[in-house]
């Protein structure tokens, strides 16, 4: 199989920039969410549509990012 309909975009999640990568493989859409700086993977999901895959990935990323505390310097 070859991946199709590849796309990347950046979204803001509560002040954190998140990078979404989505592509179709067969009948499934795969989406990964990672934080832009430094680029660590936050979520990897598959769903029947692009919208569903990105929504699930963002939901998981939001949950994880809510645990990160910013400290006063």
């Amino acid at each position: 199989m070859k991946p199709e309909n590849y796309s990347e975009r950046k979204v803001d999640v509560n002040g954190w920039e998140v990078h979404l990568t989505t592509y179709q493989l067969g009948e499934k859409f795969h989406c990964t969410a990672d934080n832009v700086s430094p680029g660590a993977n936050l979520a990897r999901v598959a769903a029947d549509s692009r919208e569903a895959a990105e929504s699930k990935a963002l939901e998981r990323a939001t949950e994880l990012l809510s645990r990160t505390k910013r400290r006063e310097l």
Binding site: E4, H30, P38, T68
Partner: protein, 288 residues
């Protein structure tokens, strides 16, 4: 890629596609997200899990020599095999694997430029077949070349000697101490900040948007601005040593810096060390 000091250390996605059935070549995926391989991978590629197959799972250390030899045997890799490493996150753990292969003296290990991201974005074939390679036997690794690796005492000395350039490749917010781990990941240190005197050059500065490495001239300018030239001793660190192995690869092989070490103890060691000096802030100095 021709301008790099060691252009042979990189191959293109096209090269990998053309060598899918080459018995002298073994393609290995090493991801941060160890589930990525199962989703689909270049035909013929095998996978190594960084957190179970590329480290000692009892004490904190790289893979012991005997286990490294066993991994090579299980992977069908002989001393003369060309090993192509690639992975997600612009080849973070692929560089980590290559660093260990070089420590144990494997001659021909290379990186697929652009990694998993570029392969997928180009719409190349993905296989879900997970066929174990025919094992080889009696791989003999060299004694560990520890000139490629920095341990805590060396880093402590280097922080004082004023000659070694210490490169912190984490994000600016980690460097400053605003956050203790990459956003969304568990905090794994007691203190935030950086090793006194370290220069902030986030690893991603070495990459283009498509995941490939920047040109020789761009890299030379990037690291030259931090006072790094061919004879400069350099120690790179991050949080656990994988992002810094990426920068180690860039400095050593793409720019040809002779004396570069990866401090894999990194911030999870320094930031937990009782009494270790820590510098905080300096956000303005950190390159966003």
């Amino acid at each position: 890629m021709a301008d790099y000091s060691n252009p042979e250390m990189l191959v293109t996605t096209e090269w990998v596609a053309q060598h899918a059935n080459d018995p002298k070549v073994r393609v290995v995926e090493v991801d941060v997200d160890t589930k990525a391989y199962e989703e689909g991978h270049p035909p013929g590629a095998i996978a190594w899990a960084w957190n179970s197959q590329l480290c000692d799972t009892v004490i904190r250390d790289i893979l012991p020599k005997r286990q490294f030899e066993e991994l090579m045997d299980q992977s069908g890799i002989g001393k003369d095999t060309t090993v192509i490493l690639y992975g997600d996150n612009n080849n973070w753990f692929a560089a980590w694997a290559l660093w260990q292969m070089k420590i144990y003296g494997h001659k021909d290990a290379r990186i697929m430029n652009g990694g998993r991201k570029k392969w997928i974005s180009e719409g190349r074939e993905l296989s879900t077949e997970n066929k174990a390679p025919s094992p080889t036997s009696a791989y003999k690794a060299s004694e560990a070349d520890l000139s490629l690796r920095a341990f805590l005492p060396q880093v402590q000395s280097a922080a004082k000697d004023g000659r070694t350039v210490m490169i912190d490749v984490r994000s600016p917010a980690e460097f400053s101490g605003e956050i203790l781990a990459p956003p969304g990941l568990p905090e794994t240190c007691q203190r935030g900040g950086h090793i006194p005197g370290a220069h902030s050059v986030p690893w991603g500065k070495a990459c283009n948007d498509d995941g490939t490495f920047k040109s020789y001239d761009e890299l030379r300018q990037l690291y030259g601005a931090e006072g790094i030239s061919s004879g400069t001793p350099v120690i790179a660190y991050c949080r656990i040593g994988e992002r810094s192995s990426h920068t180690w690869f860039v400095l050593k092989y793409l720019l040809g810096i002779g004396n570069v070490q990866n401090y894999d103890g990194s911030w999870t060691e320094w930031g937990n060390l009782v009494g270790a000096p820590v510098e905080r802030g300096a956000v303005a100095a950190a390159k966003a």
